[in-house]
């Protein structure tokens, strides 16, 4: 213990230059700084507390319901847009059927839409079918006729 005391004494007394310098506070502050500091600190705290209070109120009483309503509105409109009935032209419908794999159409709707086109095509190909039936029934080779011609 005595040794430790000696070491401390030694370290405290072995700085002649430092000990020769007068120990004083050479820094200063603006006038009345310490008189007004508590008020400044208080007003700063008041502002911070108010901000926190406002934020708390906003977050719990206004922000949460507002965001909930906004979210529900977005979801509602989004759902409505997805399920809305849109009248498409035949061409648009065809494009949709060809390009979109994941849209399923009822066969009846497709038939109704394409009924006119299918009937017209059937009329066009009716004559050709008769000729082909005649050739088949009489066992005539179509290639032989083409060669003879």
């Amino acid at each position: 213990m005595k040794n430790k005391k000696d070491i401390t004494d030694f370290s405290e007394n072995s700085h002649p230059i430092l000990n020769g310098i007068e120990k004083k506070n050479e820094f200063s502050t603006p006038n009345n700084y310490f008189e007004v500091l508590p008020e400044i600190t208080n007003s700063k705290l008041l502002v911070k507390n108010k901000l926190n209070f406002i934020f708390d109120i906003l977050s719990y009483k206004v922000l949460v319901p507002t965001f909930t309503i906004l979210l529900l509105t977005i979801l509602y409109f989004n759902w409505n847009n997805n399920t809305a009935q849109i009248e498409l032209t035949n061409e648009q419908l065809s494009e949709l059927i060809i390009e979109t794999d994941f849209i399923e159409f009822d066969d009846e709707i497709v038939f109704e839409t394409y009924a006119e086109t299918i009937i017209l095509k059937e009329i066009e190909t009716e004559g050709t079918d008769e000729y082909l039936d005649y050739l088949t029934e009489n066992d005539i080779d179509l290639n032989t006729i083409i060669e003879e011609l």
Partner: protein, 182 residues
């Protein structure tokens, strides 16, 4: 009005009705000591003022958690020390400057500071202190200027008393050498 003990102030702070009053008294009681502690580290008055206000805001927020495990003023010193170190680190990062350059910057700030009235030898001493590493500077200031006991510094910096004595001894040696050679 300011003769309340720390325990009495804390008691008043616990009560919602007297909280603001108690805090005001705490600020009045410790503002000067904390200010000079910070000021010696950051040098400029404006910076010290900013840090000190931040210290009091932190104090307000955390005082209810203070459990009397240490003395109130060592707890406040600890907040002030941490805030000062954070401030100096931010400054380094903000201006991309090294440790030594911060000390150089502080040194030049000291010479042009309107709120510094030291004579030539005092200025030389301050410059010598600014050459010390941050922790040694803290220890030197707390021991030499604030005249805190090693045990108190140990509580503030969470460093052993032996380590503090050795750091203080090294710091004073460095200052002596600086003063001799300049």
């Amino acid at each position: 009005m300011e003769h309340y003990t720390d325990n009495k102030l804390l008691e008043l702070f616990e009560d919602e009705k007297s909280r603001n009053y108690a805090f005001n008294l705490i600020v009045r009681k410790y503002q000067e000591r904390l200010y000079w502690h910070i000021r010696r580290m950051v040098i400029s008055h404006e910076d010290a003022d900013d840090v000190l206000q931040e210290v009091f805001i932190k104090t307000w927020k955390n005082l209810s958690k203070f459990r009397n495990q240490s003395k109130l003023y060592t707890w406040l010193y600890r907040i002030a020390t941490n805030e000062t170190i954070t401030f100096l680190n931010k400054k380094r990062k903000k201006f991309f400057i090294s440790l030594n350059d911060v000390e150089k910057e502080l040194s030049s700030k000291l010479e042009s500071d309107v709120y510094y009235n030291g004579d030539e030898i005092q200025l030389k001493l301050q410059k010598a202190i600014l050459t010390l590493p941050e922790k040694q500077r803290l220890i030197f200031n707390m021991k030499y200027y604030d005249e805190l006991k090693y045990e108190e510094i140990s509580e503030i910096l969470k460093t052993s008393v032996g380590g503090l004595k050795s750091s203080y001894h090294v710091a004073t040696k460095k200052i002596e050498n600086y003063l001799k050679s300049n």
